[in-house]
């Protein structure tokens, strides 16, 4: 690892529109990097892990920053929506409180205001938090280049450690979440050493839709953070629950299967062994929480002051 240095020299480009971004990407293919909030990119540049000639700033492209409801009831989030905007969006909170909570927990208050969801997805790190809850929502992303547009499901977007489906000439413009026609509930629970502002040791997201019988899970999606080289859907665990009542024993079993599907690594941050144990616990808890939401109330929207709630605040007791 290299030590933090001053930024290397680069030329900053400030496009005004998506076509302009694509044009610049095409013109400087291999030499340019997109810059969203820069919370990861700037550090990587200061450590000389990437040294681009051109930085294409996305802040000057207003059409990338939005959160909107589609006519069909779907939700679309622009790549440049910040964590803060997502955590405070009433649309997101009402629909997917756990996504708002995920956003609220992306680092410090400063980081919340700068970091974007697009940057988080395109990082390609298995330890960032947005991919898992979005995977459970079956989200898709739109990739745009001069060659055209394509819609790619997030499940399949991650090709390897720090490798995504985004081609060098492409830009991720938005994240699409289709409407859900059944009752649903979701949760994302992450573990880290401190109570806030910490890299996720392991995280688990769960999303359950209820069958019309009001008793059993029609569909279950489970995804993990820092449990494999990529953000990971654990489909075996999902399958074990579909069509069933999500009982204690069922969550237990799903947790166990998920931990078998996971392949975390040992690094100086943590051990594979500990992470595997966490997968079991976190999957169980996420499922329990999602099931509680789906069976008890209509998704209620998250508490107003999500950020930095005290760890012993009863409102976060639901993490257990």
């Amino acid at each position: 690892m290299n030590y933090l240095r001053e930024l290397p020299k680069f030329e900053y480009l400030a496009p005004q529109s998506i076509p302009e971004v694509c044009e610049m990407l095409a013109a400087h293919e291999g030499e340019a990097k997109l810059m969203a909030g820069g919370t990861d990119l700037i550090i990587m540049m200061r450590r000389r892990e990437v040294v681009p000639h051109y930085l294409i700033g996305l802040k000057s492209v207003p059409e990338l920053n939005f959160i909107r409801e589609e006519k069909d009831g779907g939700l679309t989030i622009g790549a440049m929506a910040t964590s803060w905007e997502i955590q405070s969006s009433s649309l997101v909170r009402q629909r997917y409180d756990f996504l708002a909570k995920t956003a609220a927990d992306i680092g410090s208050i400063e980081n919340l205001h700068v970091s974007t969801i697009g940057g988080n997805l395109c990082d390609g790190f298995p330890c960032v938090d947005f991919p898992a809850p979005l995977l459970t929502l079956d989200a898709k992303v739109k990739l745009v280049s001069q060659r055209g547009e394509r819609i790619v499901p997030l499940d399949g977007f991650y090709l390897g450690y720090q490798k995504t489906a985004v081609e060098p000439d492409e830009l991720l413009t938005e994240i699409q979440i289709l409407p859900h026609n059944h009752r649903y509930g979701g949760a994302y629970i992450k573990f880290h050493d401190r109570h806030a502002i910490d890299i996720t040791t392991t995280g688990a997201g769960a999303f359950i839709t209820l069958d019309s019988d009001g008793q059993t899970a029609r569909d279950v999606k489970i995804a993990l953070t820092t449990s494999a080289p990529v953000p990971l859907r654990v489909k075996g665990a999902e399958a074990a629950l579909c069509g069933r009542k999500v009982t204690e024993e069922a969550t237990e079993e799903a947790g166990r299967i998920a931990s078998e599907e996971a392949s975390p690594r040992t690094s100086w941050r943590s051990t594979a062994e500990f992470r595997t144990k966490l997968v079991q616990v976190l999957v169980r808890r996420a499922l329990r929480q999602a099931w509680r939401k789906v069976t008890t109330s209509s998704s209620s929207g998250a508490a107003p002051d999500l950020w930095l709630m005290h760890p012993l605040d009863p409102r976060i007791g639901e993490n257990r």
Partner: protein, 771 residues
């Protein structure tokens, strides 16, 4: 006695009242100038080239390409210095401003550049070509002690950098006579100061030979000596000027560092002022860590819990330099003398050279480590003997008047009062062993010196000048490092002179101007410098008293200085305004009002290799209780409550005492649960505050669950009875947390940090052990 009763009885008008820090305003508004805020015309920016290898011979350094880079004004290597070793203890000195023929850890300084801007300076580093011959490296002290291990220094066989050994009483006999003997090994990790302001300095070498260093130094006079030593110049040519300091906690702000030497030598070379600022990366990679230790502690007790004998063997990772390590390795002995009566104590402690960043002083210098071991073990012994851990501590506790086996004379020692306070306030009796699973309560006790008498220079001095408007210029050599020295020392002067705290200005340390003093470390400032300030203020008051007595036709003994007035005690109307008294004395009678004072605590030396004697003029005592909640499925620990009672003698500024107490607590909590500077093959893996995890505000309990108590003992050696408050309150915290976690889960963790994975493994083990 309560605080209010003491204030009432003594008639204090300033001290004892919560007083906001004097520089709070300018720090909050950004007006205060830290070293990095200084700009001088023509100033250059410096940058250090660091070794990428943990151990290597330097064969050749070619700086020619760097020198040719436009914007580069100077490049220096070891050749530009006289090659004189500098450092604290003559027999362990091994610092050089830049590595000469060998590098001994990744990050060691090899060359330095000064350029017109930072980017150019950095670019120039890439152009310096250093030819290394890699040498085998050794990273763990145990391996380094093996005969075939790579040797770091010729003068240190088996890589023993320094050692300290003592034996008082007869430990072998004591252990033989004990009913129960227990031996445990505890391991502690590398930890960093984590001060918010990285080291920074500006150096200037003028044509006349005058050398000036502006820097955030907590001990400017130590730096002054180091610079003279390493540069081979007369100390009189050197001037060290302190800037505002953004936290110190000892370490590099206490001594001369490569950046300081390079700033002045590059200034000499270029004729310009040169500034250096470390990045946080550099701060975390270079030395000055808390020593990581392996502590083997063997304790013998009677059936009733009476401590009989204690034998401690410590192996500490010293890293690549001696630093202040000879002192570091002596200080764990403090822990063996305080806070319990153990008649037979023996210690052998070894500080070992390895190819890692070097260890040195860090807040409460080695005490948290030794307290972790001792206070964890007491709890285990109590459990084994089915004794109440509180009663076991009570039975063995020291009290004022005690003399410890190694000769510490405890004037006052409010340990038992502290114990009672926290036991009652925390509801210990209702909680211990009665909380629901996953919830636990734990305690620990500790003692701490108020300034060590161990260095060749330990005396403090102070000067006071009173201006004609009645304001007071106070000068000492003890830097305000954020701990509140500026405020508490001003309060002492204000109390004596009967003015307000705001009437007193506290000067930055300037070696050309302010009085000589070792600086801010070892919990010495309030007691040592405070006594000097009190004496200086009394001296100035005496000068005014003589004039006032004449003017007011009163006996000087009957004069009261209070609220900016001087008056006769039994006839308060008969008095005069303080400022006009100063004007009469100074402007009319021609007696400039200037007071001076000093403090020392005896001259008999104590050998840091393990000698007998009184280590300090006073000792504080602390008892801490914590309550935790442990998530038994993940091992995650949440703090639910803190009860901390500390005997600071008398809290001169209760607000500052509370702040220090909380700061010390939090720092130790960081070491207990999160912090760990991780090196793999000598390379630091987490050189940022994102990955080097210090506690956050959300990691602490809610304010309503934080309870801090001042135990008042009015120590006769302290100014107005005050002892230290900045370090002791944190000493027991790690053990208290370890004990609370044990209480909550039944898992005993003997290595730091107490990570969730260790707790979880422990839980699994105990589950699988159950039939």
């Amino acid at each position: 006695m309560t605080l209010e009763e003491v204030i009432e009885r003594e008639g204090y008008s300033v001290i004892g009242r919560p007083t906001p820090k004097k520089d709070g305003w300018i720090k909050a508004t950004g007006e205060a100038k830290f070293a990095d805020d200084l700009y001088f015309p023509g100033m250059l920016h410096g940058k250090l080239l660091r070794s990428p290898l943990p151990h290597a011979r330097i064969l050749h350094i070619d700086t020619s390409r760097a020198e040719k880079l436009p914007g580069v004004r100077g490049v220096v290597t070891a050749k530009d210095f006289p090659g004189i070793l500098y450092g604290d203890f003559a027999h362990t000195r091994d610092y050089l401003p830049l590595a000469q023929d060998r590098v001994r850890y990744i990050g060691e300084e090899v060359a330095a550049v000064a350029a017109t801007d930072m980017d150019t300076a950095e670019e120039a580093l890439d152009l310096i070509c250093v030819e290394y011959e890699p040498l085998p490296a050794v990273f763990s002290p145990e391996e380094a002690m093996q005969p075939e291990a790579p040797q770091l220094y010729d003068r240190a066989p088996n890589n023993i950098a320094s050692k300290s050994e003592f034996h008082y009483g007869d430990v072998e006999k004591g252990l033989a006579e004990s009913d129960y003997v227990r031996e445990d090994t505890f391991e502690t990790q590398s930890m960093k100061q984590g001060m918010l302001e990285p080291h920074a300095c500006v150096g200037l070498w003028e044509g006349s030979g005058k050398i000036t260093l502006w820097s955030c130094k907590s001990s400017p006079y130590v730096v002054w000596r180091h610079l003279a030593m390493g540069l081979g110049v007369d100390p009189g040519n050197i001037r060290v000027i302190q800037t505002y300091i953004g936290g110190s906690f000892s370490g590099g702000k206490q001594e001369g560092m490569p950046m300081d030497f390079c700033a002045v030598i590059l200034s000499k070379k270029t004729g310009r002022p040169v500034k250096f600022v470390h990045t946080m990366d550099e701060v975390l990679v270079i030395g000055h860590m808390r020593h990581s230790m392996k502590i083997r502690l063997k304790t013998g007790v009677k059936r009733d819990g009476t401590l009989v004998a204690q034998h401690c063997r410590i192996i500490a990772n010293g890293g690549a330099h001696a630093s202040i390590g000879q002192l570091s390795i002596f200080l764990p002995g403090l822990g063996l003398n305080l806070p319990y009566r153990v008649p037979n104590v023996q210690m052998e402690s070894y500080r070992i050279y390895t190819n890692t960043g070097f260890a040195g002083a860090l807040r409460s210098h080695t005490q948290p480590q030794i307290c972790f071991a001792r206070e964890s073990q007491i709890e285990m012994i109590a459990k084994e003997l089915d004794l109440d851990p509180v009663e076991m501590r009570r039975k063995n506790a020291r009290a004022g008047g005690d003399v410890t086996p190694s000769g510490f004379k405890l004037g006052t020692f409010g340990f038992l009062d502290g114990l009672d306070r926290v036991i009652e306030a925390s509801g210990w009796r209702e909680k211990y062993g009665k909380l629901p699973r996953g919830r636990g309560i734990g305690m620990a006790g500790s003692g701490m010196i108020s300034g060590a008498r161990l260095m060749s220079h330990s005396a403090s001095s102070a000067q006071i000048k009173i201006r004609e408007d009645g304001t007071v210029a106070l000068m000492t050599g003890s830097a305000d490092i954020g701990q509140g020295a500026d405020t508490v020392l001003s309060m002492i002067a204000a109390e004596v002179l009967g003015v307000r705290v705001d009437d007193v200005t506290y000067a930055m340390i300037d070696s050309d101007v302010t009085p000589l003093d070792p600086g801010a470390f070892s919990s010495r400032v309030t007691l040592w410098t405070g006594n000097a300030v009190k004496q200086a203020a009394e001296d100035a008051r005496k000068q005014l008293e003589e004039v006032a007595a004449q003017k007011l036709k009163a006996d000087p003994k009957h004069l009261v200085f209070r609220d900016r007035r001087v008056y006769v005690r039994h006839d308060p109307q008969r008095g005069m305004d303080f400022a006009s008294l100063v004007r009469s004395t100074q402007n009319r009678l021609g007696h400039p009002v200037m007071g001076q004072g000093s403090y020392t605590s005896g001259d008999e030396p104590i050998a840091v290799q393990g000698g007998y004697g009184n280590a300090s003029p006073a000792y504080s005592a602390s008892v801490v209780v914590v309550e935790v909640e442990v998530d038994e499925e993940t091992g995650h620990v949440t703090l639910a409550g803190i009860w901390n009672a500390s005997d600071c003698g008398f809290p001169l500024n209760p607000m500052a005492v509370a702040g220090q107490s909380m700061g010390a607590f939090t720092m130790s909590m960081g070491q207990a649960l999160y912090e760990n500077l991780i090196r793999i093959e000598g390379q630091v893996m987490n050189p940022s505050f994102r990955d080097y995890k210090m506690p956050l505000i959300v990691d602490l309990p809610k304010v309503e669950n934080v309870h801090l108590f001042d135990i008042i003992t009015n120590d006769p050696n302290g100014p107005f009875g005050a002892k230290e408050a900045g370090q002791g309150p944190g000493d027991g915290v790690i053990a208290a947390l370890a004990n609370a976690i044990y209480n909550a889960t039944g898992v005993r963790v003997k290595s730091l940090p107490i990570s969730p994975s260790k707790i979880l493994s422990g839980l699994e083990e105990s589950r699988s052990n159950k039939p």
